[in-house]
Symmetry: C2
């Protein structure tokens, strides 16, 4: 199993900071680069929320946190990292500049993951002159420190070995890697999200419902199903004794009915933005983003914890993973002395192995 | 608050039987009509599953179950009902025949709910010659006995008062009614589901992922979010300190990117059905539909129970409702003697008030 010894995060927005939080809480040192003068405060806020959630997950005590360093350049951030996660805005020119810089200065054996929600790795890795073969998309879901899913996508130049190592590295920090079989824009998660989002915009724009009503329709309805089984297995069960074929025969024809507006894209103008933003303010019922964030995190921890006790105690889906993850964190906490300066120093001085290509490392 | 004194269910498939289970477990007598010779066995199976789930929800003991009667005709089933739920297959001609029959024989003040996933009530109520004004769509989500959501939609002839009474009746059996503001095909829930389903079929057909991988992407990722906050509030929080407007500005443009295949419909041929059915078999890992159903129900109860303890103990979303619902069931159980034949008889003989139009009834 490949593990992460030293990580670098390029970009400290909501997603980048979420990665930083997950890594630090797993006891891994992280060097971050973000030109935003507010970066330190923003990462601190995310870290505070993540620490709070993890304390609920592992009441017996958390592992010693990794050390966070703010680097002045990308070169400095990636210098001794074996895992680098890029989370800069979704512009191909920016991704190219950042990845070229990472590639030029990172150890040759480091894995480079991109948080992009939709850009194809093949289109990004052309900017990497030295080792394009170690780029993978590692697309997470917000909040990164809690949601386990990471979509792994390789480009034309990506080595299968790099995908394997990335998979193990993400799994080592409690995640559920799903390798996408063929490279397409937006991969799988964001295709489904975009489809629903586009339809949702139509429904709001046409006054069929408000954002609060639409959200309620999700969270009192199919959202509860999808937290534990995806749509295919849900439909398999819904098919009753006759199963999937019966379900498909029954619902196949609706595809031809006028049940969606998907043939067109709503115009994304100020009026629509205003409508949605205003309705969203109403929906919040005075709760601040920070308060909503806490509620969201508490809910996610509670759901995963509840699922961890299902399936005859073996746990189910994200709950089974959650069970293993919290056990792993507790074990790590038991092993390491809490906040030992000496241990930190010793760790910082540990040499990082270098190699020409990504290769599997055995857990120490 | 209008409550249901005596219910009729027309159609006993997965959805119809789910309604029967919810009603009976709330202590309400139900008369069902379904021409399927297997109907009794099938409803019995669903009832067994529902009873099992409800026992977990209310460990202190369930209310005395309502009495289930199998009627030989629609006329017999609806004769003394004040709430009638139609759950026959999605064919307009069939809906017309069934609704005409219900309308001809039901008490004038009875509310008629249709479980249709997408047919407009205006198109259905033309078949009701006596009281089309009391038809509403009451679209539930499977499993009906557990998922709280019911979309209520009125047609052109529906009285606002009927919508109000229906809303109260559904709420009285632990549901979350959401009234859809404008009548459209497939309402809100199934528009979102259709959008995601259509995209999912493309992803499977094109070999981007298998049904198991797609399901994992949902249940380890955004499914966990949607069980407690819908997409708009999730995105509000994801926008970070800048909130919804920031999020919209950032993600608005992706609508124009080639992130979905939604402009077209995949051909629904045998090849696609085979591909999906085979992958679905693999995904089940040998678990039967019944076993999966139990797991699903246990998971749903556990998730709602977990959410009932959040938000400083007040409960959140479906969890807050679940808290009230389980309390209500426990209270009902404490009031009524268990399985008293005398009480059953007394109840069966109670006269049902009739009125010309749907009107609000006070809780007895």
């Amino acid at each position: 199993m490949s593990i992460i010894n030293k990580a670098a995060a390029i970009g400290g927005g909501v997603i980048g900071a979420g990665w930083v939080a997950r890594l630090l809480l797993n006891g891994i040192d992280v060097s971050i680069f973000d030109p935003d003068p507010e970066a330190s405060r923003k990462v601190g806020e995310v870290m505070k929320g993540a620490r709070r959630a993890y304390k609920q997950m592992v009441p017996s005590g958390l592992p010693r946190e990794g050390k966070l360093t703010f680097a002045k350049t990308i070169a400095e951030a990636v210098a001794d990292a074996d895992f680098i996660q890029e989370s800069v805005p979704e512009r191909l020119d920016l991704k190219h500049r950042v990845l070229a810089e990472i590639d030029a200065h990172a150890p040759a054996n480091a894995i480079v993951g991109s948080s992009t929600s939709g850009i194809k790795p093949t289109d990004m890795q052309v900017a990497m002159k030295k080792h394009p073969e170690r780029l993978v998309v590692g697309h997470p879901f917000n909040p990164v420190y809690l949601l386990p899913l990471v979509e792994i996508v390789g480009g034309e130049q990506t080595f299968p070995e790099a995908i394997e190592v990335a998979k193990e590295m993400y799994a080592s920090i409690g995640m559920k890697p799903v390798v996408i079989r063929k490279e397409i824009e937006a991969f799988v998660g964001d295709r489904l999200l975009e489809a629903a989002w586009r339809e949702a915009l139509w429904l709001i724009k046409d006054g069929i419902c408000t954002v609060e009503e639409l959200d309620d329709i999700m969270r009192y309805g199919f959202g509860l199903r999808w937290a534990q089984m995806g749509m295919f297995q849900v439909y398999r069960v819904a098919g009753g004794e006759a199963g999937m074929r019966h379900f498909m025969a029954q619902f196949g024809p609706c595809l031809k009915w006028p049940w969606t507006k998907l043939m067109d894209v709503p115009e994304f103008n100020d009026e629509l933005v205003d409508l949605i933003a205003t309705q969203s303010d109403d929906q919040a019922h005075g709760l601040s983003i920070r308060e909503l964030e806490k509620i969201r995190d508490d809910n996610l921890v509670a759901i995963m914890d509840a699922l961890s006790k299902q399936n005859k105690g073996k746990g189910w889906g994200a709950g089974a993973l959650h069970k293993d993850y919290t056990k792993q964190l507790a074990k790590l906490a038991a092993k390491k002395p809490t906040a030992s300066k000496a241990a930190e120093k010793a760790k910082a001085g540990k040499p990082v192995k270098k190699a020409e290509k990504p290769k599997k490392k055995k857990k120490g």
